[in-house]
Subunit: 117 residues, 2 copies
Amino acid sequence: MEAAIKTEEFLPLREPTFFILLSISNQKKHGYAILQDTESLSGGKIKLSNGTLYGALTRLLDQGLIERVPSDEPAASGKPRKAYQLTRTGASVLQAEIERLENLVRTARRHLPELTG
Amino acid sequence: MEAAIKTEEFLPLREPTFFILLSISNQKKHGYAILQDTESLSGGKIKLSNGTLYGALTRLLDQGLIERVPSDEPAASGKPRKAYQLTRTGASVLQAEIERLENLVRTARRHLPELTG
DNA sequence: TGTAATATGTCGATAACCGACATATTTAAT
DNA sequence: ATTAAATATGTCGGTTATCGACATATTACA
């Protein structure tokens, strides 16, 4: 059988990392676009700091959850932007994280039936 | 109006802290019972380390999210166990965290409609 | 011309977590 | 009776992701 990727090793994701992966899950983006997208996705609640963003990108590249790809955008002045997209592993991890979150909510609701929110 | 508690200041909770609060949300427990309950609640997936547990209990007491209460259990040999229960603030924080998790899942499913899992 | 937005990055501090170690009591087995 | 396992609480040092502050260059616009 295939060498199964142990997605659990990467879980749980912290909130900023979760949004970074989610942000690029439907299309590749460069750093600054991830910043804006995360703020938009979270309804303005979450504003990633630069330290978090670029630190996480470096880490995620290293872990093989994301990869660098050439940007579509006008390369303009010989300075190509850095676009990132999910790898298959990254997509698996994101999906596993969503399932983990759903389990968490289910467990909590089971344990606290009075909170039907 | 009442001095509203800013539950958001305590969020997001990390996984161990979430389970600690959830564990004592329906009845007071002492440390070791929280350890066992968390393992049970998580289907055996999560085993809190002692460092995490007692560190978190100290922190949560300090933050006013939990409080010490006398234990029902047989005090036995003059050594009273330390039982903990949620404060109102703690209950609010737990509820807010559950809602945050639900929002996260909703946002992710909206952004990734293909993952209907 | 200048200023805001875009875009990428570094650095030091903080906070929560983890595993390892320590220790005492209680229960159950041999 | 002795031992071993489970119960119960705690400390310590190390690791890691995050954060805000700082730095810098380019592009768009007023």
